[in-house]
Symmetry: C2
Subunit: 151 residues, 2 copies
DNA sequence: GATGAAAAATCTGTGAC
DNA sequence: GTCACAGATTTTTCATC
């Protein structure tokens, strides 16, 4: 379903995402047309989901990032869905992951500074439905994020 | 440092990252040239760090994702740096975050299936230096990731 | 069914206003 | 901030393997 040529393209796209198609093709030892067609096929099959703008929160003035691990009160059937739905709407929640096990959900929350974070936490997070337990970790740095991957 | 026009551009870039500059400008009620210059300025100031290709691991055949919380043995001064440096080199580690508090590091690891994960865990993760404690959570879904942000 | 070459349509980035 | 243009790039088409 995915051959070596495709893998080569993906690898190069990760290494240099903004490269024009012609240059990308050159690095993969392909002609621009072939390279382009491969990319289209991968997009059609869902392996590639386009590009995403990388925004630096720190430079934008968001100095604080906190990772919250949340356990839900699952005595109510719809607890999970209701919580996720509500959490999605909180603008300062930039990441939601769900898990199997003792912890149900992890949220990443950004804020301008600590007072701002406290405000978001009290008004936006603690008011989310069905929370049984929360544990917070203050974020220091994001060292690696989707760069070099096993291809 | 960043006015409403810039915010509007960033918001649109997140909503539709692949849009040509001209269309992006139209959605922000700007002329293409103005929009372009704003983007350049934001790139220069470090707010915008280009684009990143979004690859779907599941479609690529990586069915398993595990989140590992690691506490380090900090009795040795260089423990932290040595651990991070070693972890960066592991290809199946797709994310590394560091924290302030009881837990030091969080890693996201992907694998083709559970046997493959077990192999990576034993050979690539447990062999990392200075680990005092590990806790693993099996990932179910990534529901939100850098889409709608507070701008 | 996939490739390569080349032409047509489109976009970017610059310079003048 | 706007307008227009030259150069570069993407995307199609067509012949080929």
């Amino acid at each position: 379903m995915l051959d070596d040529v495709d893998r080569r393209i993906l690898r190069q796209m990760q290494a240099a995402p903004e490269l024009p198609n012609a240059d990308l093709a050159a690095r993969c030892d392909l002609t621009p047309a072939t390279c382009w067609r491969r990319i289209e096929k991968m997009q059609a099959s869902g392996v590639l989901n386009g590009q995403q703008a990388v925004i630096d929160w720190q430079a934008l003035g968001y100095a604080v990032e906190v990772s919250l691990r949340i356990t839900l009160d699952k005595t109510q059937t719809r607890a999970f869905d209701e919580f996720i739905e509500a959490a999605r709407k909180v603008r300062h929640v930039i990441e939601i992951q769900t898990f199997l096990g003792r912890v149900d959900v992890r949220l990443s929350v950004i804020a301008r500074d600590m007072p701002h974070y406290q405000q978001i936490y009290r008004e936006r997070i603690l008011t989310l439905p069905h929370i049984a337990d929360i544990e917070a970790l203050m974020h220091v740095a994001r060292i690696k994020q989707g760069e070099a991957l096993p291809l």
